[in-house]
Amino acid sequence: MELVTDKKILTKGNYAIANAAVMAGCECYFGYPITPQSEIGEFMSGKMQELKRAYVSAESELAAINMVIGACSTGKKAMTSSSSCAVALMQEGLSYAASDELPVVLVSVMRGGPGLGNIYPSQGDYFQATKGGGDGDYKLIVLAPSTVQECADLTYKAFYLAHKYKNPTVLLADGMLGQMMEPVVFKDYPYPKVDNSSWALDGANNRDGRIIRSYAPSAHNQCEFLQKLHQKYKLIEENETEWEEIGTDDADVILVSFGSTARNAKIAAKMCREKGLKVGVLRPITLFPFPSKRLSELSKQGKKFISVEVNMGQMINDVKLAVKDDVKLINKPVGIPPAPVEIVKQIEEYYASF
């Protein structure tokens, strides 16, 4: 596979992510294979060596995430990629990285769970990504692409936000996005360089040794630290919340949907419009920070909400918290997203219930 820098090509989401990571200046990749994201590691293994950057076929996902932690402690752009049951193995590392305030980038391409599950697409790791499976009070920045183009664009953004906020950042794709092909253009990395000279480990030259640690034997210090950490999360919520809205102004019902599923939600909303039903779509692009404030505003205008997801209903909890109202769920437990006609059918039933 060649590195694509300046032309439009037809490629898989996984290759788009990997290509964009290299373009974003990712200097270190560490990973362990798992379907449906193995193309990322395959692409990186060759490309990183060609470019004389760091690549390790890690012995496990535990090792991979900790290698990223080590590389990030030096201020370098570093990443790993994995999927569901293997991202579960990385939760310890993500908790440490959040506490250490390290710019770890994780690409999580969701498959069916729980357990080994299967390799069908899924959105069953919304909780895993946004609520955290590691210990303690921490948040990851979570970006959810909906197209192959966004897989590339949000990969750039993941590196930028991770370094800007010194916070582990997840690109949360799914097996469908990872495997499907779409046209994509790779622009130059659009974000400014983030200065890390005040904290990165580089050898204690004419200064005291810096310590990157999470061990906090003093309860008092830990209270202060957590307050500070959560001020940062608040800042991220204020500055970085991103979403897409289609036809929400006059809508009675708004479909809230992210990732590949949002594509079908959009088609369904359009079909509803043709039937005279005023349906709009709100697609969260950042899952943390979640567009709660916007959902709350729309709710105050008397609109109703339906969460469309490929899981048993996870994001719906955040929608409910935001709109402070009953929210309907249209879901499919696992697999490719529910077909637009199926979504439309359930929306019609929903209208009929009033």
Partner: protein
């Protein structure tokens, strides 16, 4: 002439927080002496681990990252691959290196990561109160082997250095003891060699240091050294197990 002083790499006014008589203090000092002698302070990134070893960053004035339990060598791999021109070492206990972190440790040696691992073997989990660990000797009483270690329930202790020496990526592997002043001097030479192979770019350097845990062994520091000599050294035989420098 001053023949002994506190190494310069220590933080100003530091005081060890180890228990009285604990050999960790000697091991950290030897690492510090070698860092001083090789002039490495400003080029070093250290990796601390979980256990009593976690506190090294309170003592050594080095850029240091603390790894999750068992992951020191994965973190060190990341550091070294990101910054190949830096000197990178881990300071770990036997539980960290050879139990929870065995996969990370062995694979770092197998990959021939150009870094150095220092592993303190005191046959117990010291920080948590003296439980059975991967190096607990047969018959040894700990808080989780109240009748002594037996093969039926616990299996056998791991001979770490022998395993590390078997890895093709290992450039230097030695086991040393801190039971006598003579052996302390040998230990320092071994640490220097394990650092030297990294500086020469030869691969993985490893030193296993037999040390005491008087508190959890319920022994005086003096008796603890006798135990190292009489019980540990016959099983964990000191020596240089691999040195590709010839």
């Amino acid at each position: 002439m001053q023949v002994f002083k506190i190494p310069e790499v220590f933080r100003e006014d530091m005081k060890y927080t180890f228990c009285p008589g604990c050999d960790h203090g000697v091991a950290v000092r030897l690492v510090a002496e070698v860092l001083d002698e090789l002039g490495l302070k400003e080029d070093t990134i250290a990796v601390a681990s979980v256990g009593c070893s976690v506190t090294i960053y309170d003592f050594l004035n080095l850029d240091t990252i603390e790894a999750p339990h068992g992951r020191a060598l994965a973190v060190a791999t990341g550091v070294k691959r990101a910054k190949p021109d830096k000197f990178v070492f881990t300071y770990q206990g036997d539980g960290d290196f050879a139990s929870i972190g065995l996969a990370e440790s062995m694979h770092s040696a197998l990959r021939g990561e150009n870094l150095t691992a220092i592993c303190i073997n005191n046959t117990t989990y010291g920080m948590t109160g003296g439980q059975l660990g991967p190096t607990t000797l047969m018959g040894q009483v700990t808080t989780t082997s109240p009748m002594g270690r037996n093969a039926e329930y616990y299996g056998y202790p791991i001979k770490i250095t022998e395993h590390v020496a078997l890895c093709d990526g290992t450039a230097y592997a030695a086991r040393v003891s801190l039971d006598t002043v003579a052996n302390i001097k040998k230990a320092k030479e071994a640490i220097k060699s394990a650092f030297d192979v990294q500086l020469k770019g030869l691969g993985f350097g490893f030193v296993e240091i037999l040390s005491t845990c008087p508190t959890n062994w319920r022994m005086t520091p003096e008796k603890a050294h006798e135990r190292v000599r009489n019980e540990m050294m016959p099983v964990f035989k000191p020596g240089v197990y691999k040195d590709i420098r010839g």
